[in-house]
Symmetry: C2
Subunit: 250 residues, 2 copies
């Protein structure tokens, strides 16, 4: 709202203000907001606040009032549900350029799950009402929102289906394959996943325990389908071929 005037007067009489607000740059570089008008962006950036989190740090816990939305500027955020016995599942993951939205429409909404920084991350928090009023003003933007939700819904449904009718092995195979495709960098041996999620984390993503994941990956290694060295996991092209579009293994 004021932002434009702000920057302009900056040079002249501004006591202490960054010439190119980091929040604004963050918004500009965020894929999710690509359809937004510059005016909305700068208006939003004024009321937003940047905060960074270390790997594993808790960003918010279930039950907290959902009065703010978080843009993932850098890093990765996981939405985690904790069960009784210390077990937990990762329900969703938000990578850089996406936005964590939960209970957006409930009047007195509260977060339904915990948000954890999966790695060192930089988040931009925006007041929910402010955010929503911009969405409300622009049908195209509202559609972006709907599309985003649809994508998330599709993912959730896939996971549900897998949990209900596949075994741990196939679930792991599939997530390794997609991980390779989305994160992997090509190399002579195959797709290399640098900074591969912990086996515990992999387990959480597919509803399995650490040990089982370990066993399966070890077996894959023995078969030469995968090379695991420390934090780096290499997925061979053959494995990829087997687990994309087809699914059958003994």
């Amino acid at each position: 709202m004021q932002a434009l005037a702000f920057t302009r007067h900056d040079a002249a009489s501004q006591p202490r203000e960054l010439p190119a607000s980091p929040a604004l740059t963050a918004l500009r570089n965020t894929a999710w907001f690509s359809a937004w008008s510059p005016a909305s962006l700068s208006a939003l950036s004024v009321v937003g606040s940047l905060r960074s989190f270390g790997a594993g740090q808790v960003i918010a816990t279930a039950g907290k009032a959902a009065d703010t939305v978080a843009v993932v500027v850098k890093g990765r955020v996981r939405v985690v549900h904790r069960g009784e016995g210390g077990r937990e599942v990762t329900l969703e993951a938000f990578r850089a350029g996406t936005i964590c939205l939960d209970s957006l429409f409930e009047a007195q909404g509260t977060l339904s799950n915990d948000w954890i920084a999966a790695e060192t991350s930089l988040l931009l928090f925006l007041p929910r009402d402010e955010f929503m009023s911009h969405v409300r003003a622009n049908a195209e933007v509202a559609l972006t929102l709907a599309r985003d939700f649809e994508r998330r819904l599709a993912r959730a449904k896939t996971l549900t289906a897998e949990l209900a009718l596949s075994d741990v092995q196939s679930r792991l195979y599939r997530t390794l394959a997609t991980l390779a495709q989305e994160e992997g960098e090509a190399s002579p041996d195959g797709q290399v996943i640098r900074k591969c999620p912990t086996q515990q984390e992999l387990g959480n993503m597919i509803g399995a325990c650490r040990e089982t994941v370990s066993r399966i990956i070890a077996e894959l290694g023995r078969q030469g389908l995968v090379i695991s060295r420390g934090r780096r996991l290499t997925i061979t092209p053959q494995f990829l071929a087997m687990n994309t579009a087809a699914a059958g293994e003994a």
Copy 2:
């Protein structure tokens, strides 16, 4: 069935406009469209077509082009994913007044799952593009859409979490409880669920097999927490008390 009304007006010599189009009435009575302008509704109703389906009948199968959306005017639609070994899960259920949306935003979207009529149902099919152009024209409506998706996402996340970390028993307890609250009619003994889903269907909803569901319900009956007679299931208030907000049982 609609055919009757149709023929009647036809004979009466109205070549172009039905005085009270069944499609329009359907739209008007559908909760999902309550925020829509009358103009949009009648425009849509003109291009919509009503069709009815018997219980268990397949409405559409995975892979079909998602070029139409379906409003559930009467009855209930289940979205089902079929796995290899004949097993299947119910991923979502749409009751009367809701609208089945899938792959709404993909350019060449195809349905990702099968749609089955859970009971005798009446559906109104609308061409997707037509539908979308109305949504696009009105931010408020687009927001309704987003809200709808968010609700579905929340449900999906709950199911995922349960599948990953609760056992069949607690899952069943919870769905029985919600079923009682949403479908049940009060009675001296408790909430009566008339036309309760088959045990097979219950199993599909929670990713369990028929036998297990049977065992658990039988046990509940023995404990007097539930009365199962034929197609009717009665949930006692005590059971409800136990499984709403609290969850712990031996």
